[in-house]
């Protein structure tokens, strides 16, 4: 009620909407009984009570439910077994101990935004991988397809499991990582001889470049770029073997 004890429009609307408690309600009932103008105001406001629900229920039938449902079905499951989490926490704990490494990553990444130091960041990440990080992951092609679609959407790619076969290494998982809002896709394989292997990609506009080699944190890296993306293949495989794989992947992916 306002200063004069006359219910406001807010209160009258709440009255109409049955959102008042018993005491507030009876106060408004009393006020209406006394004041015919107030009663008229209430009736005026009540004109706005339209069949809203019915109208929008009808409209809701136009929803593209089938398309939305298949979108929902295609969203990858957030399956991250407990093993993986323990590993990640252990890795995080290790980084607390070597805080310098983490800071270097941070600074490195800041500088690397314009340069190619995203590779340093990914190398630091991949250095934490062991075969057990990957070997429990199921080789379910449907799930992998869904994972790849997420990558496609974020990075403007067109990936399929067929383009990513690298026998004898087994394709394990594709996931999106992000650092300061910059998406980085990481596709991982488990090589029976050399352990975890990853293809990483991020967007770039620095122009294409051919294969180059480097070593980071004890891992071999082959990196290259096309007009829109920078790529790196990283693993414990010998550099020449890694380049052969990179060549194969580049051909298939650009096809």
């Amino acid at each position: 009620m306002n200063d004069h004890g006359i219910p406001s429009d807010e209160q009258l609307v709440a009255y109409l909407d049955d959102q008042l408690d018993t005491e507030q309600r009876s106060r408004i009932d009393a006020a209406i009984a006394e004041d015919s103008l107030l009663n008229l105001r209430l009736q005026w406001l009540a004109r706005s009570s339209l069949p809203f629900k019915d109208a929008y229920d009808q409209a809701g039938r136009q929803a593209p439910v089938d398309r939305l449902q298949s979108m929902l079905d295609s969203l990858p499951s957030p399956e991250r077994p407990a093993m993986d989490r323990r590993w990640f926490l252990a890795a995080a704990a290790a980084l607390v101990v070597s805080g310098v490494v983490a800071d270097r990553l941070f600074i490195g990444w800041q500088r690397g935004q314009q340069q190619n130091d995203w590779r340093a960041l990914m190398a630091d990440y991949m250095a934490l991988y062991v075969p057990q990080t990957l070997d429990h992951l199921p080789g379910d092609e449907a799930a992998q397809r869904a994972q790849l679609r997420t990558l496609d959407a974020r990075l403007g790619l067109n990936l399929t499991p067929a383009k990513l076969t690298l026998p004898p290494a087994q394709f394990k998982r594709a996931q999106i990582l992000e650092y300061d809002g910059v998406p980085i896709a990481q596709m991982t394989w488990l090589d029976p001889a050399h352990g975890p292997l990853a293809l990483c990609v991020t967007r770039t506009s620095s122009g294409s470049r051919t294969f180059a080699h480097e070593r980071r944190r004890g891992l071999n890296v082959v990196y290259w770029a096309d007009m829109e993306h920078a790529w790196m293949l990283i693993g414990h495989n010998p550099a020449a073997e890694l380049e052969d794989m990179a060549r194969l992947l580049r051909t298939r992916i650009s096809a």
Partner: protein, 201 residues
């Protein structure tokens, strides 16, 4: 070395930022959540359309809402209504991400490309009343429109509307009152012979 931040900060950022987008959720609850989400798709789309007035944006909003919902690690607090929770996610994505992005990109938010209508490609036979109601609601400003929708279409209590929109209860009340005053100014529905005459504005 160049001005290194304190030892903890870089690490913190690393852990926060360089992580898989999805964290662990029990598979069983993931499936249950998916089934539940499937039940709400049309309602979410309808709300997305009410906010954005564009069908493709509505679909984008539903997808982003599903992604966000599936990422949730912990179960909802007991007593939380699933539909309210999803509506609040969609609203926050609209407010904080999609709408601001579209404004930045200079994309018009008015002049709906193909907002709710019952004509043309859509098979459902037009219900004259429904079309009129939707036109009237659509003519309200966004903040009033969403309150009307959540309270009168979704049937949420004022408290629930306030929670979904993250605004005080008094704000919900005043928006609804303002909207009601405007809606009351229209002639009664049955007095309008055809939606194609008076109300095309």
């Amino acid at each position: 070395m160049r001005g290194i931040p304190g030892p903890g900060r870089g690490h913190q950022r690393f852990v926060e930022n360089l992580r898989p987008e999805r964290t662990e959720v029990a598979i069983a609850s993931d499936q249950a959540l998916r089934a539940e989400l499937g039940q709400h798709l049309a309602r979410l789309w309808r709300y997305g359309l009410l906010l954005s007035r564009h069908r493709h944006v509505a679909e984008e909003l539903v997808q982003a809402t599903c992604v966000r919902a599936l990422e949730r690690v912990r179960p909802l607090a007991p007593g939380t209504r699933m539909d309210c929770w999803l509506l609040s996610i969609l609203h926050s994505i609209w407010l904080n991400e999609v709408r601001s992005r579209r404004v930045r990109q200079g994309q018009a938010l008015v002049g709906a490309d193909n907002a709710l209508s019952f004509d043309g490609e859509h098979a459902a036979q037009p219900n004259v009343f429904a079309t009129q109601v939707i036109r009237r609601v659509d003519s309200l400003p966004e903040t009033q429109r969403e309150c009307v929708f959540l309270a009168y279409v979704e049937g949420l209590s004022y408290h629930e509307v306030a929670e979904v929109l993250q605004v005080p209860l008094g704000t919900v009340m005043s928006r609804l009152a303002t909207a009601r005053v405007k809606l009351a100014e229209y002639p009664p529905l049955h007095a309008v012979p055809s939606p194609s005459t008076e109300e095309r504005r």
